[in-house]
Amino acid sequence: MPADHTPGQPASHGATASSGATPGASAPEHAWRTGDAPRRVAQAALKELPWEVGVAKPDPTIVVDGVTRTFGGLTAVSVDHLEVQRGGITGLIGPNGAGKTTLFNLLTGFDQPNTGTWSFDGRPLGKLAPHQVARLGVVRTFQLTKALSRLTVLQNMLLGAQGQKGESFLRALVPGTWRSQEPANTEKAMELLTRFKLDRKKDDFAGTLSGGQRKLLEMARALMSDPKVVMLDEPMAGVNPALTQSLLGHVKDLREQGMTVVFVEHDMDVVRDISDWVVVMAAGKVIAEGPPESISQNQAVVDAYLGAHHDAPLTVEEEDRVLAEAEAAIAREENAEGDVIGSETRREEDR
């Protein structure tokens, strides 16, 4: 390699996550190294907000309006209004089938909604393909980890770097155009791998990593693209408890660097530990939002998880009423089935 070595110059990666308006969001790039006390700016900003669904945030980065997605007769997602605070960690919880992953897919362009608009930093994201959303700085991970098995760990990381000249077909043929970017990207990748304790594995195939290590690799790979928003789909699922602690630390680090984190999680201890704000979904709708401590007191949330009548015994009158309602519903349905059937049954009765 000739003189095109330019280490220490991050090339096109100068533009980083920090472009926020709040002081915490505009943290310098390497803030996490210095060991400052955590600046929970987002948490402070969210403190005064009422705990109600669709509440406006002081500095929203993602705004969702009237997004619905139906699969046949099933409404998987129907969100009227949702804002995500910049620079905070927003936890998205809800029972299985609540539409959390579908909402993730919609927000990142992997799926298109039936109705609704949603925007990122004021820029509408509707009709954008997944790679276009990613280029804007919204990067996601997947519930089922997607490590690129037959590439090495380091190659996995390098794939995440943005603005690589050598990714165009013609320029790939002229190594001089892209070779200078590789050392800078490799250095950045190694730095991230060291943080995630994967640096010793850099030349192993990603397919040989354990499940937890793959989760770490996926998160590190997402960070290679200098995202503004990181969306983590069940980052702790299938990870052993010891590793969970270090993963949690990494997620908190992201906030210290000024990134916005949205994550789906089932483990309430994790959610309470790291979230600044929690959004609860059930049956496709947002049923509650608020700081983590508010959620366990929220009746709608308890109902969604445990069922509305979980602690009240069913009385005889109530049972009768439910039965009567069911019968009425059946009768209505039969009437609605049309005149043909109706007239036939009538004729049978006449005989």
Partner: protein, 332 residues
């Protein structure tokens, strides 16, 4: 013993001949698509046919220059790749496989149909289009040349040399591509498309580039074949050749630059050696006539190839050049 040496020489010629070049170029194309990008193109022979007929029709029917014919062949392959890719590359991998296998068979039947006869000359095929090419040879093409105990006509030698130059250039191109960030993206697409999308790469464009590049390489293979046989006939382009190229690729090792080349040479060497060797053994009575007759040999050599491939997949699934660790990852 001398007969077996002759059989070896014949097999060596087959392993180095233009048929091997043809298979190698098909397999290099498939290597780009299947080995690196994970695209299942089961109709590579259709690209070869368009390449061969691109020259044949342009020169013999339309009276155009040879080089225009080459351009027509390449252009036709690009168009076919775009037509096949546009609707299917957004879908799962299976759809491309279905579309390509159907296109290969459909195009062959179209080229031999009566309605296409004014252009393609139907089943009788086209010939007499390689004169411009043969005259470019720096040696006397009317003479025969002996190399390493094998006999070559001057024209055949010229096609073969140019063919191997093409193979070498293609390998250089692939080598440059797969070690670049472009190659990294394409290999990642083979592993998981959605992960690549989530990192901001336009997967569709990369898949299309791989499909077109592989198709053009296939077209070059078809041109070499048409020039080598000095004729173009639709039935030369049976889709079995696609699968022979897949076999050669797996034999040599997929996702390796030289895998398809060595695989193709070996494939033709083994087929020809089995053929000539068995005929020799039957001829001098080592194998009794009532156990195996010379007419059975043509079938038996493919049985042997099949057997060899099975043994290969059991004992060396990565092929000659592959990395066993890499191949075994899929089993997890």
């Amino acid at each position: 013993m001398g007969e077996l040496v002759d059989a070896l020489a014949v097999a060596l010629k087959a392993g180095l001949g233009f048929q091997a070049v043809f298979l190698a170029l098909l397999a290099i194309g498939i290597n780009v698509q299947f080995g690196y990008a994970g695209l299942l193109n089961f109709g590579q022979i259709a690209f070869a046919m368009l390449g061969g007929y691109g020259i044949a029709i342009s020169v013999s029917q339309w009276g155009l220059n040879f080089w225009v014919g080459v351009a027509v062949g390449i252009l036709a392959a690009v168009v076919l790749a775009l037509l096949l890719g546009l609707p299917t590359l957004r879908l799962r991998a299976d759809y491309l496989a279905i579309a390509t296998i159907a296109a290969a068979e459909g195009l062959r039947l179209l080229f031999r149909s009566v309605s296409a006869t004014p252009v393609t000359n139907g089943t009788r095929g086209l010939s007499g289009f390689n004169a411009d090419f043969v005259t470019l040879a720096p040696w006397d093409t009317a003479r025969r040349y002996g190399i390493l105990g094998t006999q070559w006509s001057g024209a055949e030698l010229w096609v073969t040399v140019i063919g191997w130059v093409l193979v070498a250039l293609s390998c250089l191109l692939i080598w440059l591509l797969v070690r670049s960030p472009w190659g990294r993206v394409v290999k990642s697409i083979r592993e998981d498309e959605d992960a690549v999308r989530s990192l901001g790469k336009n997967v569709y464009v990369y898949k299309m580039q791989a499909l077109v590049l592989g198709g053009v390489l296939g077209a070059l293979g078809g041109m070499v074949y048409a020039l080598g046989t000095a004729s173009a006939n639709p039935d030369q382009y049976q889709n079995a050749n696609t699968f022979l190229a897949y076999a050669a690729l797996i034999l040599g090792g997929a996702a390796r630059v030289l895998g398809p080349v060595v695989g193709s040479m070996l494939m033709f060497f083994i087929i020809q050696f089995a053929d000539t060797g068995l005929r020799t053994l039957i001829g001098n009575g080592v194998i009794p006539e009532d156990l195996l007759s010379a007419t059975d040999v043509a079938q038996l050599r493919f049985v042997l190839i099949g057997l060899g491939l099975m043994l290969l997949l059991v004992f060396r699934p990565q092929g000659i050049f592959g990395d066993r660790r890499e191949v075994m990852l899929d089993a997890r």
